[in-house]
Symmetry: C2
Subunit: 357 residues, 2 copies
């Protein structure tokens, strides 16, 4: 199992160095380290500082940790929204973000298009307190162009603009003057074991949650945004966190800094280009997302018109494990994660195998 290449878009292939970092962690006593120790604070500070460098996050933004990105959906709505969040929905994960708003008793609205499509308009109700954008819809492989994301700021200066980048980071460079919050989980692009969400928030988010509290609105308890930020300022967490997860994220971010973010981006684009090219010429496996401007670089989805089982079998014979299509597309699509843990050589083998008769 460990020798096959896992293209499932999360939990995905581990980053090359994770197993070695885990060994070192055990040698150094990290798994039983107290989260109230100075050493933990150093690990927290190192991880968040290096992540800031890697993703080019300005000093206006704070980084906090949760158990998952799913938890961030909930905490964000609890901490930043009284009534109205507006959600751009084009697949299962953007839809789930909207559902959580409904479950929490908010009055969310949506702009919804069919799976596989981008959005043709960016109209948001004037009373939207938060605009929920899914940069990369993991279920369908649609990715928002940066120009689409960046256009909201000028139109909606007061709304919190929140970007779910779960299956795209570390690839995209966001313009953090145009977005208030970005979040992801570590088991996708960072190639780590699941169990940690990373939430980036700017001062506008922090001010908004204090404003809500002042108005008597309950924003949660130990994992309210205010509590997370207050602890993060001291390089701490409100509860005993996934210490090993934070340590490993820090180590992998250091590895990525040594490799260089530009190099990671260049390789991501190369791998995406050869796979889309191969699919465009393939007899049965075609890109599901038609509009090139909205095609994801990090989760590449193929629609299989016939013979999906044969194709999977051919890939498996080479040790290549594509991800199933998501939900209703399980039997008609394949998904290929293109994360930093997936090497150029693995993508070349994938493309060669697809092209072989």
């Amino acid at each position: 199992m460990s020798h096959a290449v896992n293209f499932t878009p999360g939990p995905s292939q581990l980053y090359f160095t994770v197993a070695d970092h885990v060994k070192q962690a055990f040698r150094d006593g990290i798994p039983s380290l107290s989260h109230r120790s100075k050493l933990f604070e150093n690990i927290f500070a190192g991880c968040t500082n290096d992540l800031r460098t890697l993703l080019n996050i300005p000093a206006t933004h704070t980084i906090v940790f949760t158990g998952s990105a799913t938890e961030i959906w909930e905490r964000m709505l609890q901490s930043l929204v009284v009534n109205r969040s507006h959600h751009f929905v084009n697949g299962s994960f953007s839809k789930r973000f909207h559902e959580i708003a409904v479950q929490l008793g908010k009055q969310p609205s949506t702009t919804e298009v069919a799976p596989g499509l981008g959005f043709s308009d960016n109209v948001v109700p004037d009373d939207a307190e938060l605009i929920a954008l899914t940069h990369n819809e993991t279920s369908t492989g649609v990715s928002m162009p940066m120009s689409f994301i960046d256009a909201f700021r000028a139109q909606h200066p007061r709304a919190i603009i929140a970007v779910d980048a779960v299956s795209s980071l570390p690839y995209p460079q966001f313009d953090y003057t145009k977005v208030d919050s970005v979040f992801f989980s570590v088991q996708k692009g960072f190639g780590l074991p699941a169990g940690l969400g990373v939430w980036i928030v700017n001062d506008a988010c922090i001010e908004r949650t204090h404003e809500l509290t002042t108005r008597g609105h309950s924003t949660g308890s130990y994992h309210s945004l205010a509590s997370l930020v207050e602890h993060a300022k001291k390089n701490q967490t409100p509860e005993t966190p996934n210490v090993l997860g934070i340590y490993l994220l820090g180590k992998v971010v250091q590895d990525m800094l040594r490799r260089g973010i530009q190099q990671i981006r260049k390789e991501t684009e190369y791998k995406a280009a050869i796979l889309y090219q191969a699919m465009s010429q393939h007899a049965t496996l075609k890109p599901f997302v038609q509009d090139a401007a909205w095609q994801s670089k990090t989760v590449i989805v193929g629609q299989c018109e016939s013979g999906l089982a044969d194709l999977v079998s051919k890939l498996n014979q080479k040790g290549l494990q594509p991800g199933d299509g998501y939900g209703p597309f399980k039997k008609s699509q394949l998904r290929f994660a293109n994360f930093p843990a997936h090497s150029k050589e693995q993508f070349e083998l994938l493309v060669d195998t697809l092209e072989a008769r």
Copy 2:
């Protein structure tokens, strides 16, 4: 660092076998396993079934997972309480459970005694929807006798009786006909890396949360008790969980089953007995909890009348790392976790070192 014995009561000493299980997990691809796979469902089922056997949990109770025990405090109050929870408070952690109820906008009440004391009465307001009992107060080493816990059921047949057993399990055998919910986190008695909470609930809890939902009360979203239980019935989780954490818990529970819970209990009692005995005769380090009926077997706290720094230095020279006193007791107390990961030999060395002039 890895050669010292860590007596801090959580995150504490790792269980003997954890490092080997982690190696096997990496060989078997567990850290990148999809949580929607059949293999994950098998891991979930194996872990919960074996835990049921180890702790002797009847079929009336369901086991679900969260990110931490702190999260369980919050989810429990969100899912089971509209207004009134009643909290028995005798230290920092029982107090924090109460504070979370306040933060969530409930109207909780308390029975409060000074740190280090047990409770002399068990009066609970008639309108209490949930009775919050901290079996083992990690901050002070006070543990409720089973007879105290078991007495609530007859008096309060409708209230949910919830027991925080964070720093006592797997040692105690609860009478599950007398308690509706028990919960813990894995970094204490189970000797695992932090990042997983385990929540045991009976059918009364499940009925109560459905009743609240029916009455139009919001009980949360992806980690509402209803959502957690619904997924657990299929051996699944609502979100991508700490898969490695669940796998490791299952492995350590298997190891504990092989060792035998009676053996673990006998050793726990032996180790507690020799440490309390040594402290009762020690010149400067005395048991903080005076009443033997309320002395914890699993977190043993010593009050140091003078020379604490010298004592710590003497212990450290033997590779023994006591836990600091908690909060205000940081400079006057030491805490010793007595978990299954702490061997008889380590406790004998601890006692010998304390007794040496």
